[in-house]
Symmetry: C2
Subunit: 217 residues, 2 copies
C-alpha cells in the first residue's frame, strides 16, 4: 500500500511507458518487464490497471497542488479577498509550478506534461472523472483569477479563451519531446521545458487579452 521498492519501480516504469505509448497501448506485461517485477505485482499492489494509471497521476498531482497553493499564499492572493493579480502573474505562477514538480527521472517534467495532455485528449472515462474530482478546486481557482483579470470579456468569450489556452499547453506539452527533437535537428539551441514556457507565456497572454471580434467577415 504505502512505500515499497516494487511499488516505486512499477510507477517509474509505468509513467515512462504511458507517456511514450498511451494508456491502452501499454500492457501490464510491458510495465512489469521494464520494472523487472512479476506480472501479478501490479494487481497485488494497485488492484487494477486503471488504479495504476490514477496512482501515476497522483504521484505528480499531490506535489503540484501544494506548489500552487503555496504560491498563492506567498503572493498574498486570496480567492475571497480583493487582491487581483495580473494575468501574467497568474500564468507565470502556474507554469512555474509545473516546471518545479519534483520527479525521479531527468525528463520528469516533460513526462508529466505529456501525461496530462494524454489524459485530456485520450478520453479515458475513469481518469477524467478522477482528475475532475481531484482537481476541481485548483481549476476553479484558476478560473476565478482569470475572470477577475479579464472583466471586459463576455462569459462565453472567456470560456472559450480558457479552452484555447489549455489546448495550447496540453498539446504542446504532450508532444514536447518530439517537437524539441525536430527543432534540435534544424536549429542548434537545446529547447528545455523552461525555454518553451518562456515562449508560451507571452503567446497565451496576448491571446487572452486580445480584443474580441466585433463582426464576422
Amino acid at each position: 500500500m504505502a512505500h515499497s521498492e516494487t511499488v516505486d519501480r512499477i510507477l517509474d516504469a509505468a509513467e515512462i511507458l504511458f507517456a511514450e505509448k498511451g494508456f491502452s497501448e501499454t500492457s501490464l506485461r510491458m510495465i512489469t518487464s521494464k520494472a523487472k517485477v512479476n506480472l501479478a505485482a501490479v494487481n497485488y499492489h494497485f488492484g487494477s490497471k486503471n488504479a495504476l494509471i490514477q496512482a501515476v497521476f497522483s504521484r505528480f498531482l499531490g506535489p503540484l497542488s501544494r506548489l500552487m497553493e503555496q504560491g498563492f499564499k506567498e503572493k498574498g492572493w486570496e480567492q475571497d479577498g480583493r487582491s487581483v493579480p495580473s494575468l501574467e502573474d497568474i500564468l507565470r505562477l502556474y507554469t512555474r509550478s509545473l516546471l518545479r514538480i519534483p520527479t525521479n527521472h531527468e525528463n520528469g517534467v516533460s513526462i508529466f506534461m505529456r501525461l496530462m495532455g494524454l489524459a485530456y485528449t485520450q478520453s479515458q472515462g475513469h481518469l477524467r472523472r478522477y482528475l475532475e474530482q481531484e482537481y476541481a478546486r485548483t481549476f476553479r481557482l484558476f478560473m476565478h483569477f482569470v475572470k477577475e483579470s479579464t472583466p471586459e470579456l463576455s462569459k462565453e468569450e472567456r470560456f472559450w479563451r480558457i479552452q484555447f489556452t489549455m489546448g495550447s499547453v496540453a498539446f504542446t506539452m504532450s508532444s514536447i519531446q518530439q517537437l524539441t527533437e525536430i527543432l534540435e535537428d534544424s536549429a542548434s539551441a537545446k529547447a528545455d521545458p523552461e525555454a518553451v514556457v518562456n515562449y508560451l507565456v507571452p503567446y497565451l497572454l496576448a491571446g487572452l487579452q486580445a480584443a474580441p471580434l466585433k463582426s464576422k467577415m
Copy 2:
C-alpha cells in the same frame, strides 16, 4: 475497393466510434455491429484495421486539401510569388476550409476535428506517417505564409508559436463536443463550430503577433 454500400456503412460507423472512443479503444466488432455488416467485411474491403483508420481520414482529407488549394487560387496567393497575405487572411482561409468539409452526418465537421486532434496526440505511428506524407505539401504552404507574415519573429519563436496555434485548434476541436455541452448547460447560446471559429481566430492572431518576451522574470 471503390464504392459500395458496405464500404460506406463501415466508414460512417468507424468515424463516429473512433471520434468517440479513440482508435485502440474501438474494436472492429463495435464498428461492424454498428454498421450492421459482417465482422469479416472490414478485412475484406480494407485489408486491416490500420488501413481502415487511414481510409476514414482520407475521406476527409481529400476534399479538405482541394478546398484549401482552391482558396489559394481564388485569392491569387502563390507560394513563389510576391503577394503576402495577412495573418488573419491565412487563418480565416484555413478555418473556413475546415468548416466547409462535406460530410454525411450533421456533426461531420466536429467529428473530423476531433479525429485530427486524436491523430496528433494519440501517437499512432502508422497514422502519423500517413498524415505527414499525405499532408506535407499543405502544411509547408501554411508555414511559408506564416513566415512571410511574421518577419519580425525569430525562427525559433515562430516555430513554437505555430505549435501553440496548432495545439489550440487541435485540442479545442478534439473536445468541442464535450465543451459545447458544458457551455449549453450554463449559458443559453448554442455553440456551433462556426461560432467557435469566430472566437478562435482573434485569439490565435493575437498570440502569433504578440511581442516576444525580452527577459525572463
